[in-house]
Amino acid sequence: MPERKTNALPVAPAAAPAHVLRLRNLESGYGNLKVLRHVSLHISRGEIVCIIGANGAGKTTLLRTIVGLVRAQSGEILFEGRNITAARTEAIARSGCSLVPEGRQVFAPLTVRENLLLGATAQERREDRVPSEDQLARVFALFPRLEEREEQLAGTLSGGEQQMLALGRALMARPSLILLDEPSMGLAPLVAKEIFSTIRRLRDEGNTVLLVEQNARAALKVASRGYVLENGRIMLEETAESLLANRDVVRAYLGRDLDAEQAMDTGR
């Protein structure tokens, strides 16, 4: 969408380190239960990286550990070159790492506008902060539907709209990394499709996204690379294209692609 370029959300300065996020031997879990085992991964600027894995593989724990909601037991998390392993969640959010949690979790009794403005509080103390209204205009440019519903209570929005609101709220903080946990969960296929095309637009505008998705096929289609997480371990790191072509991955995580099968049948 080149005509939207002027509304591009800000990207970090070019002098920043090559990897927006780098995990090294990250271990975490709950009490005695170890969920992540020495996870090492990286995300370069402007990339969409996708984590695929079965239920319980540790995908959500991974995101929650990055933002400090779950404490890392060992290993390190480097965000923009800074070690944030022991940092508090608020500090991590303020430094430009925004999590869009599973199940949206918008503030139902507040309006769309209020929800979005709450998202902007994370950037208020930054030296390069922009007026919330300007940021609001950018988010509305990305999600015209939110502008239409500006004064509506968030609880009355449809599932897809709530997901857009959750995304928009994260963008209000002008993050340099967006963590998306199951953005298409519980959404009708058409709505999910819209969410994925929004993610693609986020990338086109220079954002960096770490995406966790059950719908691995759709996620890999917007991602540049992916990691396969199995029992808390990274088993495979490949380009998204290669993962889509990997028959083991297809069988385990992608299910059958009826469209492709049909195309092949008619092709014959």
Partner: protein, 415 residues
């Protein structure tokens, strides 16, 4: 030109981060899917989960060619056979290697890097005079050349006159061959009196056997090319592991896909940086046939410092010798033990013999000298002739290269 600058010119710490990620993933896959590796790791009580740094790799056991042979044919595959789209084997067929669709893609990219480093571009006409068969050479280079978009002529090996006619008539600009065969081609051209100007050749990429300075100079002078050396082995991938750029000051290792160590072949302890030792390779991306700390038996050393070409990948010295008794003749590995086995298979027992490799004139030749007791029965000449033929045919077809057999007095076997 650099094929994948974002991968070939990475900062060292970025590369190390990628290597660690990939190493942890490949160890997890090998442990989960290959019983051999699981057993080996368990034996030394190393949980792959404990590998937290690249240095931790040293706690894992080595893998030898004998280990690969003991798991013939599919024992070390890390994916089910239905995921395997290609099977290659070492020359004597004792090691079988597989490739998934992704492995073939990776192979193409890595070989493309080496071709580009050697000066090949999409405007080139590439004549590939390497075997298109069970061995990995021809196919690997072919994929890389196609990946670049060059015009590929798959001439395969042999038929020197036809090779030269194609080289002239098809206006070949890049030749890919073993050093021995390239030298042979250059000499034949010279003997024919063909002037250098009759050819369109610019570059030659040489691999599959050791390249000496002398042979390189001869090929460069006679063919009027920049000749670069490249290195690979079928157990690890085939060609595509490392290759010289046109600076010709060491072979750039594709470090984002192969983690290398150089160890003392006796003590197996890492040698000090820059010192010669045996090259040990761990594959970081291979899906079908990962190898962990594979002892190549090739002696080399790693060069410190950066290359003028801009690539940041570490360079290794040309391999000129091995830490075992395997002979490399025209790109074919010949294990003297295998020759003895074949001898037994053909004749029921192995007579005293010696293997003679002659490198006269660049084109290696292998001759088997067989000792015979002073034969008083001259009427047995015909029988002896038949015996020679049988040995020659048997050895040639099994080893995959032409072998001459000569009968000599046993005394002359001892030097």
């Amino acid at each position: 030109m650099i094929h994948e600058p974002e991968r070939e010119c990475m900062a060292k710490d970025t590369l190390a981060a990628l290597q660690l990620e990939a190493l942890q993933a490949v160890l997890a896959r090998a442990y989960l899917h290959v019983p051999f590796y699981r057993k080996r790791f368990d034996e030394v009580r190393v949980d792959p989960d404990e590998v937290r740094s690249l240095d931790d790799l040293r706690r894992l056991p080595f893998t030898t060619r004998e280990d690969l042979q003991a798991n013939y044919p599919y024992g070390l595959f890390a994916v089910p056979l239905r995921e395997v789209v290609r099977i290659h084997a070492s020359t004597c067929m004792s090691v079988v290697v597989g490739y998934t669709r992704n492995d073939i893609k990776t192979w193409s990219e890595l070989m493309a890097r080496i071709l580009v480093a050697g000066g090949v571009s999409k405007d080139d006409v590439v004549q590939i005079a390497l075997g298109y068969n069970l061995s990995t050479g021809g196919f690997g280079v072919h994929y890389g050349a196609e990946r670049i978009g060059a015009s590929v002529i798959p001439t395969s090996t042999g038929n020197t006159r036809r090779q030269l006619k194609i080289m002239r008539d098809f206006k070949t600009t890049a030749l890919v061959a073993t050093p021995g065969y390239a030298a042979h081609l250059s000499r034949t051209l010279h003997d024919q009196g063909t002037p250098r100007g009759a050819l369109s050749l610019r570059v030659a990429l040489l691999g599959g056997e050791p390249l000496s300075d002398l042979v390189r100079r001869e090929i460069q002078d006679r063919l009027g090319v920049i000749a670069t050396d490249n290195y690979g082995l079928s157990e690890v991938m085939g060609p595509g592991v490392a290759g010289e750029c046109v600076e010709r000051s060491g072979l750039h290792i594709n470090e984002d896909h192969f983690l290398v160590e150089v160890v003392d072949p006796k003590s197996l302890v890492p040698v000090p940086a820059g010192e010669p030792g045996e090259l040990v390779i761990t594959t970081l991306s291979k899906e079908a046939f990962p190898v962990i700390r594979f002892r190549t038996r090739d002696i080399t050393r790693l060069f410190p410092g950066t290359c003028a070409c801009g690539r940041t990948t570490v360079r290794m010295a040309r391999v000129e010798r091995r830490s075992d008794d395997i002979l490399i003749v025209r790109g074919v590995k010949v294990d003297p033990r295998r020759v003895r086995e074949l001898f037994v298979e053909i004749e029921g027992h192995a007579s005293a013999h010696r293997i003679l490799v002659e490198r006269s004139g660049g084109m290696d030749s292998l001759t088997l000298l067989v000792g015979v007791e002073d034969s008083s029965d001259l009427d047995e000449v015909k029988t002896q002739q038949e015996r020679l033929d049988r040995l020659r045919r048997g050895l040639s077809s099994e080893l995959g290269l032409t072998v001459s057999v000569r009968l000599v007095e046993p005394a002359s076997l001892v030097t």
